[in-house]
């Protein structure tokens, strides 16, 4: 799923630098990363809101390109950081979707059958549990765990995206994954049995 990072003359930093004098060059940044940002935003908010997020993300990125640190050759952490802020504006919708999935087993984010027939209708109890777990996370923990587990950023990239130290990413990640596991555990028949034994 992860895109190979193109280094050299045409890496992101070079394109962004060029876009400071030739704004059109920034379109290449869009072409390179829009799909991935959209995919990530879609998983959190659904395809329709995700397109708004993508539009806003690249608009903000374009306007901030003068302050981009060119020593970062790959712009993904920067873009995902901006996207995270834009997704944050729809936090209530995001949580509402997780709760709906947790309650009904039907995922409101998967819009059309063409998207993912099986997962939309299959009311697997694990998916309900995961959604319930995600709904309960703090925004900071959720942002962190999804950047790593969905967007597949490394710890360092997630730290850059969120503007926090790597240690913070680690502790948030541990806490978030533990909570999601606990939510899963709640529906695990074996663990449930153990609980009844107490």
């Amino acid at each position: 799923m992860k895109k190979p990072v193109v280094l050299g003359l045409t890496d992101d930093a070079a394109l962004i630098e060029r876009s400071r004098t030739e704004p059109e060059a920034f379109a290449a940044i869009f072409d390179r990363h829009a799909t991935e940002i959209h995919r990530y935003a879609s998983r959190r908010l659904g395809a329709a809101l995700a397109e708004d997020v993508v539009g806003e993300t690249f608009l903000v990125a374009f306007r901030r390109r003068d302050s981009y640190d060119l020593s970062y050759r790959d712009a993904r952490p920067w873009l995902f950081g901006i996207a995270t802020n834009m997704i944050g504006r729809h936090r209530q919708a995001e949580v509402r979707f997780y709760r709906a999935l947790a309650r009904t087993g039907v995922d409101p984010v998967i819009e059309s059958p063409a998207d993912d027939v099986v997962t939309r209708v299959a009311a697997a109890s694990q998916r309900k549990a995961i959604a319930a777990g995600l709904a309960k996370l703090s925004a900071a923990d959720r942002n962190t765990v999804l950047l790593v587990d969905w967007a597949e950023l490394s710890y360092h990239e997630a730290a850059n995206a969120l503007g926090v130290p790597v240690g913070t990413v680690r502790s948030r990640l541990n806490r978030a994954r533990r909570k999601v596991r606990e939510a899963l555990g709640g529906i695990n028949p074996i663990l449930s049995a153990e609980e009844h034994d107490r």
Binding site: A27, T35, H38, R43, A47, E51, F58, R63, R127, W150
Partner: protein, 394 residues
């Protein structure tokens, strides 16, 4: 168990919604259109100064045909509201200022040598108050200004003011008609002189400031030029540094970026400058910077009353309006007409501007006060050209 230290992501989490359909960049029409509009808008903003090159007037020509030249410049400016650019739903002051920063950074400016002058022509409107006989009468006085300021502050500068007809304030009296010669020349003593404009007003000084917004913000807040609350003073100081000056592009950009961080600013759409050009303004406590709505270039300033003021008008009344028409670098001062030599022209270094302190009026932050009876004006406290206290002894 290592899980306790680094718990693996639950497989179910990684797989949730993983089957969602991808969309290629070409399929993301709406998002792509947003970016394209923005790129296109900026491209046009950049091409504007190139398409219409500035014509630097020779000072001698300016001096000889000052009024005609100013009128010509005004007529060259686009009139009426500019076509609207694609704008996001919520236009914030920070957004406008950051756009302005990008536009400023992309606008080339001539760089003066230390021995040259910065020439700026502008149209202004400020409040004039006449005080005496126990009452204060205010109206709006309007001028066309041309100023020549020494780039490094080592030389005497020159200011030409051409009076324009006064304008009535909503709750003010009918203003007096202009009388006498509307053209006035004033020499500007070098900043090194006692009583001269502060040294921070020179190009050389501005060029020495940090252009990194964080460092510039730090500098501005540590070197506030007045006693207002920090944010208010920083906003005022930024306006002062941009006014009647050629500001190095990177500094202008940084000043706008700093302004974008000052809390309390709002956006005013369709604000008009002193020559009727409309743009989008950022406003803080009634003090506004106006930008071209497509170009995001600074086109002027405006002040509006934030509350009703007796003798002036209701909240929203425009009490100051400017338009900066042109900036240039010139090597010499214009020849002041012979008949004006007594008022201005080459002056001995450090001779105080004739306006101070013997004039019949004082200006406090561009608000001009006049005593009805000239000789009754008393200056109580002054530092530099800043008048802190004065009175009309009735």
């Amino acid at each position: 168990m290592t899980d306790l230290l680094e718990p693996e992501a639950p497989r179910e989490l990684k797989e949730l919604r993983a089957g969602i359909a991808d969309r290629g960049p070409a399929e993301l029409h709406k998002a792509r259109a947003m970016l394209s509009a923005e790129i296109h808008g900026e491209r046009r903003a950049r091409e504007r100064p190139r398409a219409r090159p500035r014509r630097w007037l020779r000072p001698a020509l300016v001096a000889g045909t000052a009024v005609a030249a100013a009128a010509l410049v005004v007529s060259l400016l686009p009139r009426g509201p500019a076509p609207r650019a694609a704008q996001p739903a919520a236009l914030t002051a920070a957004y406008v200022l950051n756009r302005a920063a990008t536009a400023a950074a992309a606008t080339p400016q001539p760089v003066p040598r230390p021995d040259q002058y910065i020439y700026v022509s502008s149209v202004t409107m400020y409040v004039s108050s006449e005080i005496g006989n126990g009452q204060e009468k205010s109206w709006l006085y309007r001028t066309r200004r041309q100023i020549w300021q020494s780039a490094d502050g080592s030389r005497t500068g020159l200011l030409q003011i051409v009076q324009q007809p006064n304008k009535k304030l909503p709750w003010g009296p009918t203003p007096p008609a202009l009388s006498g010669d509307p053209v006035d020349w004033t020499t500007l003593p070098p900043p090194s002189c006692p009583g001269a404009a502060p040294v921070r007003g020179t190009y050389t000084f501005l060029a020495s400031l940090p252009t990194d917004p964080v460092r510039l913000r730090d500098w501005l807040y540590r070197h506030r030029a007045g006693q207002n609350p920090a944010d208010a003073q920083a906003w005022t100081d930024i306006g002062d540094m941009l006014r009647e000056m050629l500001v190095p592009p990177r500094l202008a950009a940084a000043l706008f970026r700093v302004a974008a961080t000052i809390p309390g600013a709002t956006v005013v759409r369709d604000a008009a400058n002193a020559v009727g050009q409309t743009g989008v303004a950022v406003s803080r406590s009634g003090s506004e910077l106006i930008f071209g709505s497509r170009t995001y270039q600074l086109i002027g300033e405006r002040s509006v009353l934030t509350r009703p003021v007796a003798g002036m008008g209701p909240a929203g009344t425009v009490v100051a309006s400017t338009a900066q028409l042109r900036e240039a670098v010139v090597s010499t001062l214009p020849d002041v007409p012979q008949s004006r030599k007594d008022n201005g022209g080459p002056a001995p270094a450090c001779r105080l501007s004739r306006l101070l302190p013997t004039s019949s009026h004082v200006r406090v932050r561009n608000h001009r006060y006049t005593c009805v009876t000239t000789e009754n004006m008393q200056l109580l406290r002054q530092s530099g050209t800043e008048i802190h206290q004065w009175l009309c002894a009735d």
